[in-house]
Structure formats: C-alpha cells, structure tokens
C-alpha cells in the first residue's frame, strides 16, 4: 500500500502539521519505507486471536465522586501563549 503524495498531504492535514508541497515526495518515500517494514505483519496468522487490550491483568478502578480538583484558573492559564479575562484565546472560529 504505497502512499501517494496526496495521501501524505491528507494525513498531514489530519495531524495538523504544515508540510510544504516540495517536501511531500521525500516524505512519502520515507513513510513508504517504514510502512513497507511494518507490513511484514500481514504474514502473521492471527485468526481467532483477541487483540491485546492491556498488558495488565487489572481492570478499571472506579474513583469516588467528589469535587477535589479545580479552582486554579490562574495556574491552568499560566502557561498559555495568549489569554484574556481568564479565557484561553485563539483566532476566531467560525461555525
């Protein structure tokens, strides 16, 4: 399943990585090299094998329902590149 530059461009958009068109062919070649390697797996017979969910035998622990966190708006926004009136700020999103 060789990746076309179009597919790479689409995957880059899904990943939100700006890739210049000039870089696409080289990147496609790199990714195809890796995909060629991982496609060895198709040779393994996995009929009837359940996919591994976790290496741990444990199951999910349930937390007690109590408001124990929050009330730290200052700390939550302290690292933000742009903030205003306690909000995070981004370019206007049009719906």
């Amino acid at each position: 399943m060789a990746l076309s530059t179009d597919t790479v461009s689409n995957v880059a958009r899904l990943s939100r990585l700006a890739i210049t068109p000039e870089r696409l062919p080289a990147l496609a070649a790199e990714l195809n090299n890796i995909l060629g390697f991982i496609e060895q797996l198709s040779a393994v017979n996995t009929d009837g094998v359940e996919p591994l969910r976790s290496v741990s035998a444990a199951t999910l622990r349930l937390r007690e329902d109590a408001a124990t966190d929050g009330n730290q708006a200052e700390a939550v926004t302290a690292n933000a590149p742009e903030k205003s009136h306690g909000f995070f700020v981004v370019p206007k999103v049009v719906e």
């Binding site: 399943m1 990746l3 597919t7 790479v8 995957v11 880059a12 958009r13 899904l14 990943s15 939100r16 990585l17 700006a18 890739i19 990147l27 790199e30 990714l31 090299n33 890796i34 995909l35 390697f37 991982i38 496609e39 060895q40 797996l41 198709s42 393994v44 996995t46 094998v49 359940e50 996919p51 591994l52 969910r53 976790s54 290496v55 741990s56 035998a57 444990a58 999910l60 622990r61 937390r63 730290q72 700390a75 939550v76 926004t77 302290a78 690292n79 933000a80 590149p81 742009e82 995070f88 981004v90 370019p91 999103v93």
Partner: protein, 480 residues
C-alpha cells in the same frame, strides 16, 4: 571523577548515614562535575543548582538517615514534570513550559530523600535510540573507544542524558523511561545498569506520554544494587494512574546476594540474529556460562513471534503517540506560531515545534489509525502483540528468566548512525519484545566490544519478577 562522584548510590547512602560527608558536600561535588563536564556531554538541559543546594542544606540541617536516598543527588529525565521547573521533553513545542505539578515518581524520590540536580536530555518526546533528536542538541557518551581521539559516541536513547550523566558521575543515579528500550539500550551503550519494571509498577502520572500502553519509568544506576534501591523509592501504587497496579513494593535490595542455584534461565533462540556483532554473541555466551557456573540451569527456549515485535511496535507506539501529542497545539501551554485561522495556528505551531522524527511518527501513527486502515494495521498489531505476550507467558512456564543481549552493537559514532529510520529502529530489536509484553527487564554491562566499548546483557522476567532479575543480575555483575 572525584571520590564523592565515583560512589555508588548505596555507598553514598551509607556515607551520609555514617556522617562521612554531608549532603551539601555530595551535591556540590556533583554540581562541580556538571559544570566541568556538561558542556562537552550536553547531558543536562536544565541544571537546578540552587534548588539542589538548598535541599542539601535542608537535609543536613534535619537529616533523615532512615530515608532510602538520604540527601543523595540524582538526575531527572526531562520527561518527568517537575513543579516550578521547566520541563521540555527535549522539544521546542513545549517552549518554556513550567509544570504546576510534580510527577508521582519524582515526588516519590523526593520523599525518599533524593535531591534532583537537574533535568536530563533525551530524544525528543523519548523518540529515538541515539539521543540525536533532542531540540537541545545531541548528548555525548562519556566513553571513548580505543581508537577515538575525542568524545564522539552516542549514548543511546532515548534516556541518553540519563545514561551519560550517571556514567560520567554527574549524578549518583537517574530516572529513565522505557517505551521500547529507552532505559536499557542507553544503559548498554554507556556501560551502566538500567531496569524497566513491570508495566504498572511505577506511576505514569506526570510523565509526558509517548506511548501510554508501553511507557514505564525505571532507574538508571551504576550497580545492580543501586537499581534495586532506587526502584524501591520510585515504585508504588498511584490512584491517579488507572494502569498503576495496587501491589506492595518489596525491599528489592533483599534480592541481592541470593543464590541462583537451580534457577532456570532461557536463551531465546530467535534472538540469535544474523548480523549481530560477533563480540555481542560472544558476550552472550560468556554470560550464559557465568550463570551455569553459579548453579543455574541454562536452556534454549523459543519465542516464535520475536521477528514481528519491531513492526508491531512501530504501529502501536506511533499510533498512541499521534494521539498523545495532539495536545501540543499552541493554545494552553508551550510554543505557538500564529496563523490566520485556528487550523493554521495548529499546523504552523506543530510543524515548527516538532522535529523530523516526531513528525514522522505522528504521520505514521495518524495513517495507521485512519479510516480503512485501522484493521490492517492497528488491530492486527494488537493481535500480534497478544501473540508476543503469549510467547513470554509460555516461556515463563519453564524458565525463571531469559538472558539476551541488550543491543545488537556497541555505541556508534555520532554522525555514523543509520540514516534509514528503519535501520535505526533495529537498535531496539532485543528490548522491544519485553516492552510489548509489559514484563520487567534489566540491562547491565556484559562485556566489551573489540574497540573497548561496553556491551549490554539483558535479563527478562515474568510480570512482577523484578526481584528474580535483580538477584540474577547481581550474580552476573560479579562474574562479568
């Protein structure tokens, strides 16, 4: 190395308790070593000299000799969030991120008396096997081959800063994290001890995630006993990590010095790969012989799906990483590169903030999860992963531990690393299977290559059998 920086963690603890030296003296000796050597090694991204000196003074003023690591200077891989101290994951994208919280493992270590002297360099987001993908520059191995004229060897990765600093005496021990070999392979390259515990043994809370189902923190030390001591301080149940397992932490040091007579050790035949350096194979044989001489029974075993571990890993790890790294978007923390729309802001920020290897893995991970490919790649990989885990559980029905090489070669020269990413991935061929199965593995020095550089040997145990590994490891350490 000065007298103080040459001490093992265990010996330093004894010295502090016997008041042979103070914590301030110990910390200062290591800070001096950092000042002297870090410019060449680049092992530390951030040195927290002032905080460390204050902590040492505080320790000396009110000593707690019963603590596991009383006033002992250690290094912290810069993947552990440290409250009030910049944490970078060796990536530009985190910018000047200052965590408002402390990771559970680093907090456990502090509670055990350890003093962090700084944040250690690594491959960006722990993705790499040579510590050359760091946005803060490559780390150098403090060891030279016989024919090297200057420091020019990679320390391995991703915990390359940790391995380099421990070997060079810049700290008594360091934390590492291991996703596919990131503790064990650099330990092998730098000639130290590294332990990847059972998945669920050390809390992942506050450690910047690479691949959540594989990431596990562990100690990097100069001796097996030190690894036992440090693991005891790091490990423990953490209700904040849903994958942390609620099982008591034993005194791992009690395993050291126990007889291994009658233990059954397996040599997985699939690990005898074509192209492995003859010196590595010789070291492996010698280690097996040493165990036989100590009374262990050494047998050949089979892990039939070993060959598929690497491709399985290079689906699962990038898939999880592509999702784990989506949060670095320039909105709530970290660096931002503006854009006229929100999507352009994301794309610009992430393109500028992530390095080439990280971008490559994000793209692969996104692709293998995308519509139409999920079953062929990700689901298939999780099925093969189940087979690999089953290989181990079958093997551990008949043996107590497995003995393998840690890495296929000794440390290579910076700039002479494989340029093909796939060839680079092969560095982890011996370490990845245990990561996929979630079982513990201990890497320790096993011998030397012809050029004098160290080679690593690896012991792999069943889930929660860290003590078995440590007792066998201590025997090997004595013998080799």
């Amino acid at each position: 190395m000065s007298e103080l920086t040459a001490l093992s963690l265990t010996a330093a603890a004894a010295g502090i308790r016997a008041k042979k030296f103070s914590s301030v003296e110990l910390v200062d000796a290591h800070l001096s070593a950092i000042t002297a050597q870090n410019p060449a090694l680049n092992a530390f991204i951030t040195v927290t000299a002032e905080a460390a000196q204050q902590a040492a003074k505080a320790y000396d003023a009110k000593p707690t000799p019963d603590a596991l690591l009383p006033g002992l200077p250690i290094g912290m891989k810069d993947l552990f969030c440290t409250k009030g101290v910049r944490t970078t994951a060796a990536s530009k994208i985190l910018g000047n991120f200052i965590p408002p919280y402390e990771s559970t493992v680093s907090a456990n270590l502090a509670a055990a008396g350890a003093i962090t002297v700084g944040k250690l360099n690594l491959d960006e987001f722990a993705m790499g096997s040579a510590n050359i993908t760091s946005a803060y520059g490559a780390v150098k191995n403090p060891l030279k081959a016989n024919d090297d004229t200057a420091l020019c060897r990679v320390p391995g990765g991703s915990s390359g800063g940790s391995a380099s600093a421990v070997k060079a005496g810049l700290c008594l021990a360091a934390t590492g994290t291991d996703t596919g070999g990131s503790i064990r392979q650099p330990a092998a390259f730098c000639g130290i001890v590294g332990l990847k515990p059972t998945y669920g043994r050390c809390s992942r809370w506050g450690i910047i995630a690479f691949a959540s189902s594989l990431d596990q923190a562990g100690p990097m030390t100069r001796t097996v006993t030190d690894a036992a001591l440090m693991l005891r301080a790091m490990a423990g149940f953490d209700p904040k990590d849903s994958t942390s397992v609620d099982t008591p932490v034993p005194d791992y040091t009690a395993a050291i010095g126990q007889s291994i007579k009658g233990k059954r050790i397996g040599l997985p035949k699939e690990y005898r790969l074509d192209g492995t350096a003859p010196a590595v194979l010789a070291m492996w044989d010698k280690a097996a012989q040493a165990l036989r001489e100590a009374g262990a029974e050494v047998v050949e075993v089979s892990l039939p799906h070993t060959a598929y571990a690497l491709p399985t890993y290079y689906i699962i790890a990038p898939a999880e990483a592509s999702s784990n790294l989506a949060r670095y978007d320039g909105v709530r923390f970290g660096a931002r590169v503006d854009g006229d729309t929100l999507d352009h802001l994301y794309e610009n920020t992430r393109a500028a903030g992530f390095g080439a290897e990280v971008q490559r893995r994000i793209l692969i991970g996104t692709y293998v999860l995308s519509a139409g490919y999920y079953d062929a790649y990700y689901l298939k990989a999780q099925k093969v992963r189940a087979l690999i885990a089953r290989d181990f559980s079958e093997a551990f029905k008949s043996v107590d531990a497995l003995l393998t090489p840690t890495a296929p070669t000794e440390a290579f020269r910076l700039g002479e690393e494989p340029k093909d990413p796939v060839a680079m991935y092969l560095n982890d061929v011996f370490t990845i299977p245990a990561s996929l199965a979630g079982v513990p593995a201990l890497a320790l020095p096993g011998g030397y290559a012809d050029n004098g550089l160290p080679l690593g040997v690896q012991l792999i145990g069943n889930h929660w059998q860290e003590e078995t590994l440590l007792s066998i490891g201590a025997v090997l350490e004595q013998a080799l």
